[in-house]
Structure formats: C-alpha cells, structure tokens
Subunit: 344 residues, 2 copies
C-alpha cells in the first residue's frame, strides 16, 4: 500500500533544484522500496511559488537552470513566499532549503519552520541558521506539536552524523565527538600539504575548482564547522549549547611551517570540530588541530569529511563520507523524508 506524502519546498537554488530532480529520478525506487509516493505540491523561492494540489512535475522543476525560471511556470503566484507559502502548501513535510548561513541571519528559514511546526508539518531542513540560533526552542515546539525535525542536510549532508549517533549508537553514551565537517577547508589544507601551496594559493585553487565560495570566510574561518558541531552536540548532549560556548578558530593563519611541525610530530593538521565530556561538562571547539597519524580522521583528504564518536558500550566509531555537492545535500534531505516514515 502506497503512502502519499505531500511536500512543500522553500528555496529553489542548486539544492532545491537537485531535490526536485532527485524526486523524479527516484520515484520508482521510492514506491518499490519504501511504499512512498512523494508529491511535491509547492516550490517557493524569494519571488513566489509554483504550486499544484495534486503534485507538480518534479522532473520539469529539476530541469530548470536557475531559480528565477520558476517565475515563468504555469501555476506561479508572485509573492507567495515565506509564511504564506507554508500556509498555502497543505504539505505533510516542509523542506527548508533557503540559504541561511547563521552569521547573516536565520530568516526566512526560522519563521518558515515555526509556522510549519505550528501547522503539524514535519520539517526537513538544509538551512543551519535556525538550528544554530534556537535549537532548544525549535525542538520544544516540535515536541509539543508532535512533529519531527530532521536536519541531515544541515549537519554535513552526504556524511551521516546525527542519524549514526541516534540510530547506530542508540543506547550507548557518547562521551566525545570529533569531526572534519567542512569540505572546503579540508580541500585547502590537503592542497597545502600535498602540493606545497600556501593558504592563498590553495584558496585560489579551491575557487577555481568551484569548491570555495566567492566569500569563503564561513568555511575557512571555522564557522561552518562550528555551526555543524553545535547542532550535533545539541542533538546528542541535550540542546543547551550556543555559539558562546564555543572557541572558534579558522585556518587563514596556517602556513607550511605549521604543517611541517605537525608532520614532525607524526601527525597532520586538520580543521576539527569537537565536543568532549570533561570534569567541567562538555567542551566545544572548532579550530585547527594536529591529529596523530593513526587517528581515524587523519587520512580524510580533499573535500571528504569524517566524524568520530567515542561511546561507552559500542566503542569508537568513525564515519568517513563523500564530498558534499548539491545532489548529495538533496539526497540527504530525501533520506530524512524516508526516515520520517520508515520504522525500526
């Protein structure tokens, strides 16, 4: 028996378009393997939204080249965006894919999410902002409304982090987490280490490859790592941490001499986000660290990522994952939707 699930999507940039394309590509698989019939009923961006009560054609949407191409589609309503779009969608799941780097604010994602929650709609978010800004508040609202918040796409996307901790380590007590969570920074450090480039040269290479954004400061400044680590730590350790609890450092000041020093110590220099249980509670950090050569994250190269957990009953566990791109991020959101309905 197929279960029909109506989905609203906010944010129609690279990730949003890839999400639509993936829904079309995976339609048969979703039906066969999960008995799910996922219908995209609304797709909004900052200009407005296209909607159709009985489902848009995700294949058509996925083939659009730019988010502004939504405007020209049949069923487009100018100004139907943000809260108005959430209310209009009539969806069971709201996918929030608007860009919201936390430093520049967390709207419209935060308001959209609260409205969805109040309407009894599950939220799958790729936007980190609201979770960085108000993790505890969102989780309390969701619990009270009986809806779920899933955020694989906001916590390293193609690399599973929170779902491994919550499902694969269920019942164990996690006492430490360390992660290489930012592909751009790791790519830069890898270029410096393996090709002898300095920071500026490696950054230029990353830009050339389309890996670094025009303004790379969230990535190389350690903030993206800090945001992800903060969300992961709040998920695992009770929700009370904020950015003020974190010491955040970037890799802009790293030079070949630092990497050489790390090598002399038998290790390698990485940008690491970590949370550790100590006598004074959990210590959260994001910054450059020398990882010993045999550390399970020491071999993470290029845009790859990794996370390492220490638990009481299930031992140490390391997950090494693929580089993130818009398709991987979209696939992480699709995974979250499937897991809303997949049990045990």
């Amino acid at each position: 028996m197929q279960m029909q699930v109506k989905i609203g999507l906010s944010g129609f940039g690279h990730v949003g378009r890839n999400f639509a394309a993936l829904l079309a590509e995976k339609e048969g698989d979703l039906s066969r393997r999960y008995s799910l019939d996922l219908q995209l009923v609304l797709a909004a961006n900052s200009r407005g939204a296209v909607s159709a009560e009985n489902g848009l054609d995700p294949g058509l949407l996925g083939r659009l080249q730019a988010s502004r191409d939504l405007d020209g589609l049949k069923g487009f309503t100018a100004g139907l965006t943000g809260p108005a779009a959430v209310a209009a969608a009539g969806a069971a799941v709201w996918v929030e894919a608007t860009p919201s780097p936390a430093r520049e604010g967390f709207e419209p994602a935060f308001t959209n999410m609260k409205l969805a929650i109040a309407g009894g709609i599950h939220v799958v978010t790729l936007s980190k902002g609201p979770l960085v800004h108000a993790f505890a508040e969102i989780m309390e609202l969701a619990a009270a409304a009986g809806v779920k918040i899933k955020y694989s796409g906001a916590t390293a996307a193609a690399l599973p982090t929170v779902d491994v901790a919550l499902a694969s380590l269920a019942g164990s007590r996690i006492t430490a987490v360390e992660g290489i969570l930012n592909g751009t920074s790791n790519y830069i450090l890898t270029c410096m280490e393996e090709e002898g480039l300095d920071f500026a040269g490696a950054l230029a290479r990353a830009r050339q490859q389309g890996i670094a954004e025009p303004d790379p400061s969230l990535d190389v400044g350690g903030w993206d790592t800090a945001y992800k680590l903060l969300i992961i730590a709040n998920t695992l350790f009770g929700g009370a941490f904020t950015l003020e609890h974190m010491d955040v450092q970037g890799i802009e000041g790293i030079g070949p001499a630092d990497q050489e020093a790390a090598r002399r110590l038998g290790g390698t220099l990485k940008l690491v986000g970590s949370a550790r249980l100590t006598g004074e509670g959990y210590i959260l950090q994001a910054g450059p660290q020398i990882l010993p050569g045999r550390h399970p994250l020491a071999g993470v190269r290029g845009t790859s990522k990794g996370i390492h957990f220490v638990s009481d009953t299930l031992g140490p566990l390391t997950v090494l994952g693929g580089p993130s791109d818009p398709r991987g991020a979209a696939a992480a959101a699709l995974k979250d939707i499937i897991n809303l309905y997949q049990r045990g």
Copy 2:
C-alpha cells in the same frame, strides 16, 4: 509516558549474561532517553529457563559467572527451553543469543525464531545461522506476521553495517559493499604485518590474548566473513543469495611473502567480504585481497572492523568500528531493541 516491553532471551553464555548486565546498567538511561521500560521476563539456556512474569532482576542475572548458574535460581524450570521457552515467555521481543555458527547448524535458533515470528514477537538475533540458512524465508514470514527482525549482533555487532545502509543511506542505490568483518583474522594479519610473525605464530598470539577461539577455522577460513557479508548483501540487494553464490577463501595460506608483495604494490593484505554489482548481477566474495594504501579500509588494524559502501547519491561511505566483545555484541542487541520502538 513509559512503554513497557517484555523481553525473552535465549542463550545465556557470555553475550546473554552481558545483555542482562547491560539492561540493568542502562535502566535509567532507557527510561529517560527512550521512555522504554525493558523487562527481562525469561532467560533460557540449553538446560531450562528462569522466568518471572513481572520481570527478572537483570542485575542479578548479569552478575552470574556461567550459564549453568541459571539452574540454581528461583523460578528455574528444567527443560523449559527452545520452542517451549518462546511460548512460555509472553514477550514482545525475543532475543536469540544461542551460538549457531552456520556450518554446525542453525538450531535451536531457527526454530525459536520461527515460533517467535508466528507468535507476533519481534526478533533480535545475535545468531547468524538462521539468517545464513534461510534469509528470504525468515523475512517473508516476518512480513506476513507484521514483526521485525533485527540482527546488528549477527552482522559485525559493535560495527554498524545494516542500519547505516538502511537508515543513513536510505533512498540511495548501493552498488558495492566491502568489509573487514572478522576481528580475529584482521588481528592475525596485523600481527603478521607489524611484527613479522608467520600465520602460526600470529594465531598462537591471538589464542593467548583470548581473541581466537580454540577452533578458529570459522574465522581464519573466511566463513564468518562470508556469513556476515551474505546477510548484509541479502538485506541490501533483495534476499536471494546463498552461500553457493559465494567464493570463500581463508587466510591460512598467507605468508610474509604475500604481505611483502602487497607492500611492494603500495597496498596491504586484508580478509575482505565484498558484494559488487556487475553486468552479470552481484558478485559475492570473501577472501584475502590487496587493498591499495589509500583505500579507506587499508588502515583497519587489530581486532577493529570496517565497512565501505558505494552509493549513487550519497557517495562513498566508510564506517570503522570498535572491536567486538560480548559487551559490544550485547549493546548491539540493545540498540536493535531501542530502534524497534524509536521512530524517525
């Protein structure tokens, strides 16, 4: 609101006793984090069972030194074992922890499991035998009865394998799996490589450390790896594979010259179980392989394990996990029980 779940346990060796101990140790955590009140109502071994409708004291059971110590406990019924025990338990979850290496048969685990399924009881099995012998049959019976079969403890225990594939890679298509799934063999190969021992010397060391069993043939012969890989492949790729589909080789014939040859090629020799999609369908193998130096499983040392997945949308994913011991195996069973009741 706490949910009370009655559990029956078959098999009271190291793993069974650790399971009881863990239930006692985690009682508070299970209640706080998962709202679960797990009651062990019956514990059986080959002689009989102790039972109590309102729950045995798992702390007391966990402190027993040997499985025969059950005999002396209040509430022990001689001969209450196998199917009779399943029927008597009145449990919601049946934990099957009887030893059943597939080569020596798959009873009493198989009969116990079928009886539990017919009774509408979820099954958490640490015994591989029934799944190696009759995977498709068990899954069909379970689907028809509306019960779940969980088997983390039969597929590398403390190393998550199937739950990562089913939950963390949900929605993606997995096209290849490779795993270092047997800690004993990997320990022996590591000793040979790092300390220059030959196979016999390394095996002797493994026995001395309590890592190798008196008869290590299932481990070093590649069979344990093959069993686990077979269960994983059946889970991911549709249930139709049997041991006849597999080419199985052990590490008994490996010598220092083989490892030296692997080193010259820049790689390392490991006992690997693998399933790969080819033009002729899936090819399943278990045997020694040279892994390139940068292969994500190349650095798995000692009794550690690892698994590597290739997927279409979520990229390559590697999980490196803790060595298995009876406590880790028991924790894997507890994780399965939690995930029977934890949603989304």
